[in-house]
Amino acid sequence: MIFTILAETNGTDLHPTTYQLIGSVSSMGCKSIVICPNGIAAEEAANIEGVEKVISVVGDCFDIFDGGAWATALNSVCEGYILVSATPNGREISARIAAMRNVPIIQDIVSISVVAEDQGITVTRPAYSGKAIETLTISGYAVITLRPNAFEAANSGNDAPINVVNQSADIKISIQEAINQASERLDVTEADIIISGGRGMGSIDNFSHLEKIADIVGAAVGASRAVVDEWGMPHRMQVGQTGKTVTPSLYIAVGISGAIQHLAGMRSSKYILAINKDPDAPIFGVADYGIVATWEDAIPALESALSELQA
């Protein structure tokens, strides 16, 4: 079975997800061909264990992101199963390549394995916003995108050959104007991760610490009713019976006791992390992970642990 991987970069280096893509192929006992768009990080890719060869694709068509142009340019050097990271750009390029090749496209998988005697591959993926897990078997080649951080990364320690190829494709999108707005923080109803503060935060000023964490993981900042009523936090941040009802993947409650009115607004979160200095706080009754600590101790630790993870 042949596996081609489209490398994901952060501009100059490989993104950790590329290592995960290569790792996923290795876990099936196979090697990967890694394609580096725009020639970026080809050497780094060649150093990863499990890479058979690297194809560095260069051309004008990579100047801006036009999914169609990128897909056209990369498709010519793809073969076999094509694995891409399920990032927004990755999903777009993958869908186009699949349509070009008239093969199935499966997005956002969390596991992959080979069917006996190379009859095909089996993947699992979340569906219905995570309310169900689908297991799919694909016979014949396909384009597949892999959820970031769901697969083990490969290690370094290799010296694969690198081929440089020139490709061109028509770019149909042109950038008219860059609009650099002060990035508005996400609203609690839109965010996949929410970090909320309650009376235990001590004062409204201390919320800046929660904002720092929100910035690291791309979260929204929420508040309990007490904080809104007594400290003047904006009402749109209020989570609870008389505020918003939210269903994020992760709800981090800091210094919130967990009164029934607050629970009404966040009980359906997929995962709840509670940080409170009172071990008997009701919030621990609904939390998946609870840390008994003051926010002064826990929040800086959380900030550094999350920063490290993102690096």
């Binding site: 008389t242 029934i260 629970l263 009980r267 009754g285």
Partner: protein, 390 residues
């Protein structure tokens, strides 16, 4: 979180596609614009003007009336609209009931062509608010003996008297006023700037706080001759209006009951006491099951009544039964809901006591509970038991 209404016997599956779409339109609007703002409106004692505008834009005012810019929907759709509005607040539904059934309807049924063309389109769009002047300080259940008087002065009518408990009065452009002309009850359209007319707001209500309730005062109020409704005399006029409004209320009360049921169920599932959610205790389950039973019965009553209304096979007593029953059970449900919510139930974090207080008014207005009972008693026996006179 989108609202899911209790519908144990799938009664809503009997709605037509149009009725379902109207339901969803109003339900979504109530979720987005009413629920987040109702407690403040209630505390401040105001009916937000944005709601008048939105109801006009959605095109739900005067729902079952046809022509003259009116929606022309079925009575079933009208019932659905009332239910969805009252799930938000009874005061909100009262605004729509008064506008549609008590102010627009009499003009539509008893007015001249000129009157219909002049008033109805602007009332349907919500631009002009109407109100209904029947009840007086001393004449509630007995409207027939009203003392508000109209005198024919040749080139105008002169009105004297006072009406009380008039929803929308202070914010209305016009009032459909029932007064005795030579001893016979006639309908008159009074406009807010007519000389001798004022509509002071009644303050200090513990119920229907997000609704405007007023007095209508006529002190030698002069109105032009073309303001009398030509086609009706006697109590038939106001009673026809009330029948329509009462029909809407029979559905509306269910909305209030459903809101209380939903809140009770959610609360009971979350409130932990003695290490278990109170929903696991028998007495609480008994209460929830009773609520479901009454709501389901009420839904079937309202739905079938709507079919008879649309088919024209109804009599006023049918409407009395549904209004009386559904408001009565809704009020009981609100009280039991408060009990389930414990102390939390007294806070306006939960809608319970607002609904409970509102339903006290709904039980009394549009024909008190006892009066509707006697209407049915008269129907059964042929003997009126309203008064001591034969």
């Amino acid at each position: 979180m989108a609202y899911e209404a209790l519908d144990f016997y799938d009664v809503d599956s009997l709605l037509s596609e149009e009725e379902r779409m109207v339901r969803d339109m109003v339900r979504d609007w109530v979720d987005e614009e009413v629920i987040p703002n109702i407690e403040k409106a209630c505390r401040d004692g105001v009916f937000p003007d944005e709601w008048r505008v939105a109801l006009g834009e959605m095109g739900v005012l005067g729902a079952p009336l046809k022509g003259y810019g009116c929606p022309g929907l079925s009575y079933t759709a009208y019932g659905v609209i009332c239910r969805e509005l009252e799930r938000g607040d009874s005061g909100l539904r009262s605004f729509a009931s008064v506008q549609g059934s008590l102010a627009m309807y009499p003009i539509w049924d008893f007015g001249s062509e000129e009157q219909k063309n002049y008033y109805l389109p602007k009332m349907a769009s919500g631009e002009w608010i109407g109100c209904f002047g029947l009840t007086e300080p001393d004449y509630g259940s007995n409207p027939g003996d009203m003392i508000t008087k109209a005198e024919d002065k040749g080139d105008h009518y002169l009105l004297n008297g006072a009406k009380m408990w008039i929803t929308n009065g202070s914010i209305a452009e016009l009032a459909v006023v029932w007064a005795k002309l030579d001893g016979v009850i006639r309908g008159f359209i009074v406009e807010k700037n007519d000389p001798g007319f004022s509509a002071p707001e009644m303050k200090g209500k513990h119920s229907l706080k997000a609704s405007v309730t007023s007095e209508l005062v006529f002190q030698d109020c002069k109105i032009p001759k073309d303001r009398m409704l030509p086609s009706v005399k006697g109590l038939r006029g106001p009673f026809s209006c009330l029948n329509n409004a009462r029909f809407g209320i029979s559905w509306g009360a269910l909305g209030s009951a459903q809101a209380c049921f939903n809140s009770s169920k959610d609360y009971a599932m979350s409130r932990i006491q003695f290490d278990h959610p109170i929903a696991s205790y028998q007495l609480v389950q008994n209460k929830l099951a009773w609520m479901l039973r009454e709501i389901t019965k009420g839904q079937l009553l309202a739905y079938h009544l709507a079919q008879k209304k649309d088919a024209g096979t109804w009599i006023p007593e049918h409407i009395s039964l549904a209004k009386m029953n559904n408001v009565d059970i809704a009020l009981e449900i609100a009280r039991v809901a408060r009990d389930i919510h414990g102390a939390n139930g007294i806070l306006d974090e939960y809608p319970i006591m607002r609904h409970m207080a509102n339903l006290e008014s709904v039980k009394t207005y549009e024909g008190t509970h006892d009066i509707h009972n006697l209407i049915i008693g008269r129907h059964i026996t042929g003997i009126q038991a309203f008064t001591r006179n034969a």
